[in-house]
Symmetry: C2
Subunit: 321 residues, 2 copies
């Protein structure tokens, strides 16, 4: 089952994906852990363990980046991408799309931020190229690109990788941002983030910048040590970045993740941008996963952050270990 379902009365969607078909007893709580036993399917030599390769980047005859379909996809291209309502309360459709994996380095123990800036820029180029291909599929409304690093950030494989889920809904969180941007733009004839950037650049939440990007800790960060890397130039989509901009983005991502490595922080990294024809202001979000949300956060949607963004920025601005 790969099904998209909508809440009875409000606009919240879930992908019900029971493909791994566990029985209830398989959920009996065990301390989760990173899989260490057995050969790593992402290491060179074990390429046959993954679904067929979609593309790769080679350096001196060996692959350094490799993309293939996820072995346990959250979405598939079975059926139609259309959604339908049965009666008043039961809206659903196929969870339609593609779910891919990019292995970021051939070396099992190399961490993403240890890659040279040029290699990280190459990774971005490779990732955004896959993004563009996936947007060409019929029925795709959004291509979500994200990285889970560490157990508490939702991964079970240690070998560094990124996932891409292209599917048939514009996600709520992106839609909310796009709507707020459009509404601000209508009133003020400019992008709100372009203005926020000018303010944060001078303030206590600034971390670092270069020609193309500015890194800061957002004013109302919901995660401890959350950081955003915003393009200084207004762009709606990552696929419009020039080569020097990719290098600048890589430099700041490397810098921030290197600082987080001091905390041994599990983290997610993801990409905010608009699908074709919509307004956004591209930024990369880095969100460490240091605290577990409880009943208050899940009931209310109001998050408690125990590190102020100003403290977090101070930490990021420091150098070294």
């Amino acid at each position: 089952m790969h099904e998209l379902r909508k809440d009875y009365i409000f606009d919240r969607w879930v992908i019900v994906n029971t493909e791994r078909a566990k029985r209830p007893r398989d959920f009996i709580r065990q301390r989760p852990k990173i899989r260490e036993e057995g050969p790593c399917p992402f290491c060179p030599g074990n390429e046959k363990m993954t679904p067929p390769e979609i593309s790769r980047v080679e350096l001196k005859g060996e692959w350094v980046l490799r993309c293939f379909e996820n072995k346990f996809p959250a979405v598939t291209t079975d059926g139609s991408p259309e959604l339908k309502t049965e009666g008043e309360f039961f809206t659903k459709g196929n969870a339609y799309g593609k779910h891919e994996v990019i292995v970021e380095t051939p070396r099992h123990r190399q961490q993403f931020q240890e890659l040279p800036v040029e290699r990280i820029a190459k990774y971005f180029q490779f990732l955004f190229k896959r993004r563009n291909s996936l947007y060409k599929l019929p029925g795709i409304k959004f291509v979500s690109m994200f990285k889970n690093h560490g157990l508490e950030a939702g991964t079970s494989l240690a070998h560094e990788h990124t996932q891409i889920i292209a599917y048939n809904r514009l996600p709520k969180n992106i839609e909310r941002e796009i709507k707020a941007i459009i509404s601000y733009h209508r009133k003020h004839r400019q992008c709100p983030y372009c203005k926020v950037l000018k303010l944060e650049r001078k303030g206590p939440r600034r971390i670092a910048e270069n020609d193309s990007f500015l890194a800061f800790t957002p004013y109302a960060s919901i995660f401890e040590f959350e950081a955003g890397i915003f393009s200084k130039r207004h762009l709606d989509s990552f696929s419009n970045l020039r080569e020097n901009e990719l290098l600048d983005l890589a430099e700041l991502v490397k810098k921030l993740l290197s600082r987080l490595a001091v905390l041994k922080a599990p983290y997610n990294m993801y990409f905010h941008e608009a699908p074709k024809g919509k307004k956004e202001h591209i930024h990369v979000k880095i969100v460490p996963r240091l605290i577990t949300w409880g009943g208050f956060e899940h009931c209310t949607g109001c998050i408690i952050n125990t590190v102020s963004p100003e403290q977090a920025a101070e930490f990021f601005r420091e150098e070294g270990e």
Copy 2:
């Protein structure tokens, strides 16, 4: 610092609470664990370890329920409950309110669902009485009642307890539900949940019912084995429940949590209801925390659920171990 902050451009709020005042290095990742060493502040005999008691329920001369302020409150009554905007993008206010704890049993190792039905009903009565008191404070917009059980559900103390956070915002998740109910009501002259109940009562997601409550797994559940216990009678607030209804609620909560105990599942339990004058349809949500959300969930707001609500209902309907 106890500050409520709003996102730059959309309506998402965070409580920035740095009272525990850690330094960044204190966040260096260690496997979190339930605190086991030292005396338990929630056990009888250690009452002096908690902030002053607000109220208690006694049975045969000993307390069985005990309420006091949280030692590390997320909100306080310092300053004013008003919110203000500085410039266009920086909206904030005091995270104003009260944060209390209810210890649910004097016995350190007793789990909530092991309490007799009458004791659970007594707990609800005690909890909803605290709720009513807290709504009387000036500036309080919502009283959130929730329980975190187990590490992955956000608790660090094993002794069973509930928290109450009364604060100066109507939370987004509750507001969204209230709005959807009002909008449906305007069109159809009835509560949508009253209608959903009639459908779910006959369907594959029904778990159990008694005179006053119906338990089922919601159609678009976002958590594995999520369950809702809905009042059959339309009520906006838990404080309107009669004594027999409290017993009926207790019976179903005990039944569902006993099944979850088979999975040793960490879980949150929380209460959906309206503040005075607003429309809701009361229900208790029980959400096991078996899977960690990753970058996809946090970026998009679309959750992947690996157990279908129909499978989950089947599990809950079974008896015993």
